[in-house]
Amino acid sequence: MLKRLFAPTIEVSAHCDLPCGVYDPAQARIEAESIKAILQKVAEKPDDQDFKTRAAIIKEQRSQLVKEHLWVLWTDYFKPPHFEKYPQLHTLVNEATKLAGAGGTKASWDVATADELLGKIDEIATIFAETKKA
């Protein structure tokens, strides 16, 4: 009788697919800081061609990682209500990933390009922090 009235106790999930808090613009920021450090080191050794070649390869890889971290945030973290509240967000992610591409840190040897990229990442991070507080 009681069995018919009472179902077995179950656990109900209030989880994400992944451990919560895996998304963070800080990941993109760390890679962008690496890019900036590479550019600074290359500027210190303008005559070392071998060093510059290796720096180019590493800078290419780090730039790609920046793009991937930002894409994951854009596709997996930000949701329609966020885009409604922050209409500039799509453009911001687009501009930041461009700055980490061939139009940005992949091609440039100028430290200012890395600073621009860091600035864009910080703008995204500000919005991210606000959505976390909501």
Binding site: T9, E11, V12, A14, H15, C20, K132, A134
Partner: protein, 102 residues
């Protein structure tokens, strides 16, 4: 209709329900908009998802739109779309008072 207990795991229903909260749920109950329910989510990229607790916020076509109370965390209709009628298993009647331990 059957009563049951559901134990909450995770943070996506904060601040309403915390990890470890025990909920009294009614299986087969009528869906009530705005109330939390026990639902089946569609399978994810890593296979089936566990039975979940979500808030039903509105009708969406023939299904129900469900959301987390904690917008920063969790899988809900913003990720998986509306759920079919059959995916809503039980309605949360109330949260049981905490048993104080130690």
């Amino acid at each position: 209709m059957q009563l049951g207990i559901a134990v909450v795991r995770g943070r996506s229903m904060l601040p309403t329900y915390r990890d470890g909260d025990r909920l009294l749920v009614l299986y087969g109950a009528r869906v009530v908009r705005g109330r939390a329910h026990v639902v089946d989510l569609p399978p994810g990229p890593d296979g089936p998802r566990p039975v979940a607790v979500k808030r039903v916020t509105r009708r969406d076509g023939d299904g129900w739109w469900v959301e987390c109370d904690n917008p920063a965390e969790g899988v809900d209709s913003w990720t998986v779309g509306a759920l079919p009628e059959s995916a809503v298993r039980a309605r949360v009647v109330t949260r049981l008072p905490h048993r104080r331990t130690g």
